[in-house]
Every structure is written in structure tokens, then in C-alpha cells.
């Protein structure tokens, strides 16, 4: 963001609260004498709130349907490459610290100069070596971003760490250990730890954040590659097949329907793991029946399937789905389109309706040796304590209603 003074907290807060920046800054300054609330809040928000314009972020959030296949462009503002002034300030601070320590040490300035300088330098190197080359570049690329601030923070932290270390060594190598010296050492150690924490915490926070971002980006990338491969393998092949067999309209319709279903599944479904979703199993059954069976006239029949709720399959729903398949085959082969299928998963029962517009059949007239309806549909469901009814009304088609009681709640699948 433009116009920031330190971390941009006041600016971000102003954008969030829709207040003038000056007012927020004034509030921070006014709060400073009150037990240092201002600075403490500032530092806390600095660490906790991600950088960026909240309004722009809200604009970026688009309906998931529209972002599904769209790659988002990362707009990087051009800006200063290296924050020369800030590095200079950091260097001046480091040198000042070194000089102060040297003055404190008194006469030994010349002799002890090398060691603190080495410590400070190695501290600097340590802080910078946490960033690999790519990340360093990215930090530099962020125009007006965190780079100067980072440098300042690193410098400040190392300054403190260095002071701590020097106090420790300088006093320890002196006369005997007195209580005052001990206290001073402890203070020095605390200061040192504070310095190290100050150096490491922001880096650590940022690393975690960036790791998350990168993971999400990688997941998106692999999803895209997945879809591209899928389009190539299936859609293009099917189109080629359709062109070859353009004269066979029934076959073309069937292929188009199968491909459409497959593509839909890829684009819109959450693709649950196999064996975790009754809805997914049902869709598989519908696909299989659509692909393998034809209506009385030889044309493929499309099944309009609607599913409400979902659960983890068990023996009961397995039996129900097998019965559903038989009913569906029956409706497709012997009934008239359109064929509708409705599955509702309730808390204590699962219901299926299979409906076609044919004349239907009378349950009582179905010969007991015709294993199809009697055994495969009704028997299966009844053995699970469920009910199966067939309703035929003239002019209104045939509907098979299957109901199986189930034990646990339907939300099991979501909590896995």
C-alpha cells in the first residue's frame, strides 16, 4: 500500500474502518503514554494482520464457479529494487551499537573490536541465510512492501542480540561473579532472547503464511493439469469417435451423453473418495445403466437423477442401491422416457423413487418365476426391513418407491 510510514498498520486500519489515516495515527500517538498501549497494539496488528488493501481483497473474491478454471493473475507492481536508504540506516544502527559497546568496554576497544564485529556479522548472515534466493527476490519485488521493514527488523534484532552477547562475554570475563553482575547477565540474556525472537518471529510467521499460499497455488496448478489431461484423454477422443460414427444417431447421442456426464462430474462435483458417498454410488449406477441399456425403441434413455443428502454407504444402502439399479433398468428398458430418479437420505431412512412414463406393470401379475422385479427389487429391500411399492396410474407413468431404514445420522459422511 502507498503512503505507509512504518508497517502500514494505521493505513490498513483506516481503510478497514473507513476513517481518515491521520485520525488513526493520532489515536496511536495519543494511546502511547497510556501504558504504551499504542505501540503494543501497533506491533500486535503488524504481526497479525496480513498486508493488503481489504477493499481490493474483497473485489478479488469472486464466485467459486467463475474462478473454477480461471487462473488468477498475480499483479506485481514495479517498484524500487533495493531499499538503499533503509539498508544504510540499518548499517548506521549496527555501527552505532558496536561503537557504544566499544565505549562501554573502555580501554579495550581496540583489542575487543574484532569479536563483536564478527558476532554481529555472523548474526546478519544468519538472518539473511534463512531466505533462499527466490524468496529474497520476491521480497525485493514487493514494491514498497516489507523489504525495508524487514531489513530494519533484522538489524534491530541483531543489534539487540549482539548487545546481549557482548554484555555477557564482557562481564563474564571480568572479575568474580557478583549478584549485580548476575542480574545484569540475566537481563542481558533476556534482552538477547528478545532480540532473537524479534528477528525470528516475523520470518517464521511469514514463512508459514507463504507456505500456505504456495500449497494452494500448487494444488490449483495440479488441478488444472489434471483437467487438461482429462480433456485430452476423454473429450477429444469422444469427439473423434462421434465424427467417425456421425451416421449412427443413437450411438452418437449415447456417446455425447456419456461424455457430458463425465465432464460434468469433473467440473462440478467434489469427487468424494470411493466408498464414502451413497450419492456418488448412485450416480455410478445411473451412468452404467445409461451407457449399457436402451429404451424399447433402441434409443438411449437419459435419466434425470436428483439426490438430496448423502451418507456413508453400508449394507442397507448397498441393498437399496442394487434394488434401485434393477428398478432403473426396468424403467429404461420397459418404460417410456423421461425417466426420473430421486434419492433422499433422511436421518432414519433412505428413500428412492424411480419413475418413468410407461404403462407400468402390476405387481400381483408379475409371475413369481420372473426373478427380476420380485426378487431383485422387492426381495432385496424387504430383507433389509424396508418397503417397496409400485404405483401405476394410467397416463401418469409408473413409479417404484423404495425405502430402507438406516441406523445412524446422515451427516457421517461430512465429518470424516
Amino acid at each position: 500500500m502507498r503512503g505507509r510510514w512504518f508497517g502500514g498498520v494505521a493505513l490498513g486500519l483506516a481503510a478497514h474502518l473507513d476513517l481518515p489515516v491521520g485520525l488513526v495515527r493520532l489515536a496511536f500517538i495519543v494511546l502511547t503514554p497510556v501504558a504504551a498501549v499504542g505501540p503494543v497494539l501497533y506491533v500486535f496488528w503488524w504481526l497479525a494482520i496480513p498486508a493488503g488493501d481489504p477493499a481490493a481483497a474483497a473485489r478479488d473474491v469472486r464466485p467459486s464457479a467463475l474462478t473454477r478454471l480461471a487462473r488468477r493473475q498475480n499483479v506485481i507492481e514495479p517498484g524500487r529494487r533495493i531499499p538503499v536508504t533503509d539498508i544504510a540506516i540499518g548499517a548506521v544502527l549496527v555501527i552505532a551499537a558496536v561503537l557504544l559497546v566499544a565505549v562501554r568496554a573502555g580501554a579495550d576497544v581496540e583489542a575487543d573490536w574484532l569479536l563483536p564485529a564478527l558476532i554481529v556479522l555472523s548474526g546478519l548472515w544468519l538472518a539473511w541465510s534463512q531466505l533462499d534466493a527466490a524468496q529474497r527476490d520476491r521480497l525485493r519485488d514487493r514494491a514498497g512492501g516489507r523489504t525495508p521493514v524487514s531489513v530494519l527488523r533484522v538489524a534491530g534484532g541483531i543489534l539487540l542480540a549482539g548487545v546481549g552477547v557482548l554484555l555477557f562475554i564482557g562481564l563474564g570475563s571480568g572479575e568474580g561473579v557478583e549478584p549485580a553482575t548476575l542480574a545484569q547477565s540475566i537481563i542481558a540474556a533476556v534482552v538477547m532472547l528478545g532480540g532473537v525472537a524479534l528477528v525470528l518471529t516475523p520470518w517464521w510467521l511469514r514463512l508459514v503464511r507463504e507456505l500456505g499460499d504456495e500449497r494452494a497455488a500448487r494444488a490449483r496448478e495440479s488441478e488444472r493439469a489434471d483437467i487438461a489431461a482429462h480433456l485430452h484423454d476423454s473429450v477429444l477422443q469422444t469427439l473423434a469417435l462421434i465424427r467417425l460414427r456421425a451416421d449412427d444417431s443413437a450411438e452418437v447421442a449415447r456417446m455425447a451423453r456419456a461424455q457430458e456426464r463425465e465432464l460434468r462430474e469433473w467440473l462440478y462435483d467434489d469427487r468424494p473418495a470411493p466408498g464414502t458417498s451413497v450419492a456418488a454410488s448412485l450416480r455410478e449406477i445411473v451412468a452404467e445403466v445409461e451407457d449399457s441399456r436402451s429404451g424399447p425403441s433402441g434409443d438411449p434413455v437419459a435419466v434425470e437423477a436428483v439426490v438430496v443428502g448423502d451418507r456413508v454407504p453400508d449394507v442397507d444402502t448397498e441393498a437399496l442401491l442394487q434394488a434401485t439399479r434393477e428398478a432403473l433398468v426396468n424403467a429404461v428398458v420397459h418404460g417410456l422416457p423421461p425417466v426420473s430418479l430421486y434419492l433422499e437420505v433422511g436421518a432414519s431412512q433412505v428413500e428412492v423413487f424411480v419413475r418413468d412414463h410407461g404403462e407400468g406393470f402390476d405387481l400381483e401379475e408379475v409371475a413369481s418365476d420372473r426373478f427380476g422385479v420380485r426378487e431383485s427389487i422387492i426381495g432385496r429391500v424387504r430383507r433389509r426391513g424396508g418397503t417397496a411399492t409400485v404405483t401405476c396410474k394410467p397416463g401418469r407413468g409408473t413409479e417404484v418407491h423404495l425405502l430402507v431404514p438406516v441406523s445412524s445420522g446422515p451427516d457421517e459422511g461430512e465429518e470424516r
Partner: protein
């Protein structure tokens, strides 16, 4: 139907627009076509047709697709009604456009007579629910029988009758078939469906909101 219903057709695929125009019967006349969000908004505002057939996925504008077109024409909703037309079964697409103010939703594989019928129904102020939309409604409002609305003004739950109607529509029943199944008139079925549509648009029901929020609809 004696009156011819004027329709503006909004879809970004020329081939699809041609197909729709060819399949509509004589009672529906296409008076304008648009293929982007901006063009659609401009056209709808200038023509103000009784019905707009609106694709859910549209290029242009702020990327909001069909829902954006409806939101830009909110002030016209009393006279111009939107019928969403989508190839997608994704629930988020459907619910987004319905909550924006569309009076109905049909999938693109609907045949000509059914589509013409749906247009006329929307033109006369009724709502059009496909089996799949009914399924979404039942999913979003919860399908357990104990959780029913008592009063008419309750937005967060379906009444027992509304649920019954939704279930029949989800099972593939036409309005006429629903009416005879429940021994009520078609007009009553239409009233129930309109009431459900209103709830779908206005409800702040916890699940619906959370559900929509999870899909970044709100």
C-alpha cells in the same frame, strides 16, 4: 395462450441462441439477443421485455455472470422476469442466480415445448423449478420431516405442503401431476412454488447462509 410473449435471449454461444430460437414455439418471440453482461444489461434496460432468458455463465462485466445482470436490473424485476438457463448443475451457480432474483431455473437440455411453457409461466408471474432445483431446495432447507414451518411468514423453513410439492417436483412430476397427486389445483401448486422461491431468495436460514458462504455466494 393468445398473447405472444416477448423474450430477450442472453447467452454467449451463438449456436445455442440459434438452437433456442428454433425450438421456441409461436407463442414466444425473441426480440433481442445479447452475449455479454454489459450488453445484456443495456439491452434489457432499453427493451424491458416481460421475460429474459439468461445464461448463468456470461463473460464481461465484473465477472459475476447472469447474477450480475439481474442485480443490475433489480429495479425492473416487477415487470421484467428472469428465467435462468444453465448447462451447469452446480448448486452454487443455480442458487447465486436465484438469490439474485431470477424467477426460475431450467437446464439447457430442456426441450422446446417445455421451455416455451416455462417462459409463459414466468411471464405470468409464476416460478419455474426444475427437478434439480427442487433437490437443491430440499438440500438447503433440510429434508427431515420434523423441521417444518408453522406460519406462512416463516422464511427459514418449508411448510409441510411446500416440502411435499418440492419432493414431487424433484421426483420428476410436472405441476399438473403434482396437483392431481396432492388433490389440489395447479394454481395452488404454483402458489406453493412461488412461496418456496421467495424463501430461497430471502431466507437467512443458517444452513443456507453457511452453505452459500462456503461457496462464496454472499
Amino acid at each position: 395462450m393468445s398473447d405472444v410473449v416477448d423474450v430477450v435471449l442472453v447467452d454467449d454461444h451463438h449456436m445455442f441462441r440459434t438452437g433456442v430460437k428454433a425450438s421456441l414455439d409461436a407463442g414466444v418471440r425473441v426480440v433481442g439477443e445479447a452475449d455479454t453482461v454489459d450488453e445484456a444489461i443495456r439491452l434489457v434496460r432499453s427493451v424491458q421485455p416481460p421475460v429474459v432468458l439468461l445464461d448463468v455463465h456470461l463473460p464481461g462485466g465484473d465477472g459475476g455472470g447472469g447474477a450480475e445482470v439481474i442485480r443490475a436490473c433489480t429495479d425492473l424485476l416487477a415487470t421484467t422476469r428472469f428465467l435462468a438457463l444453465s448447462v451447469s448443475d452446480a448448486s452454487d451457480d443455480v442458487v447465486a442466480v436465484i438469490r439474485a432474483g431470477a424467477r426460475g431455473y431450467v437446464t439447457k437440455n430442456i426441450d422446446g415445448p417445455d421451455l416455451s411453457d416455462a417462459v409463459r409461466r414466468v411471464a405470468s408471474g409464476d416460478a419455474v423449478f426444475s427437478p434439480r432445483l427442487a433437490g437443491f431446495v430440499l438440500d438447503a432447507f433440510g429434508s427431515s420431516a420434523g423441521d417444518v414451518a408453522i406460519g406462512d411468514d416463516e422464511l427459514d423453513r418449508l411448510s409441510a405442503r411446500e416440502r411435499e410439492v418440492m419432493r414431487l417436483i424433484a421426483r420428476g412430476y410436472s405441476y399438473r401431476e403434482v396437483a392431481s397427486e396432492l388433490f389440489i389445483s395447479i394454481k395452488t401448486v404454483e402458489t406453493h412454488v412461488s412461496a418456496v422461491l421467495r424463501k430461497l431468495q430471502l431466507s437467512s436460514r443458517h444452513e443456507l447462509t453457511r452453505w452459500a458462504a462456503a461457496r462464496r455466494l454472499l
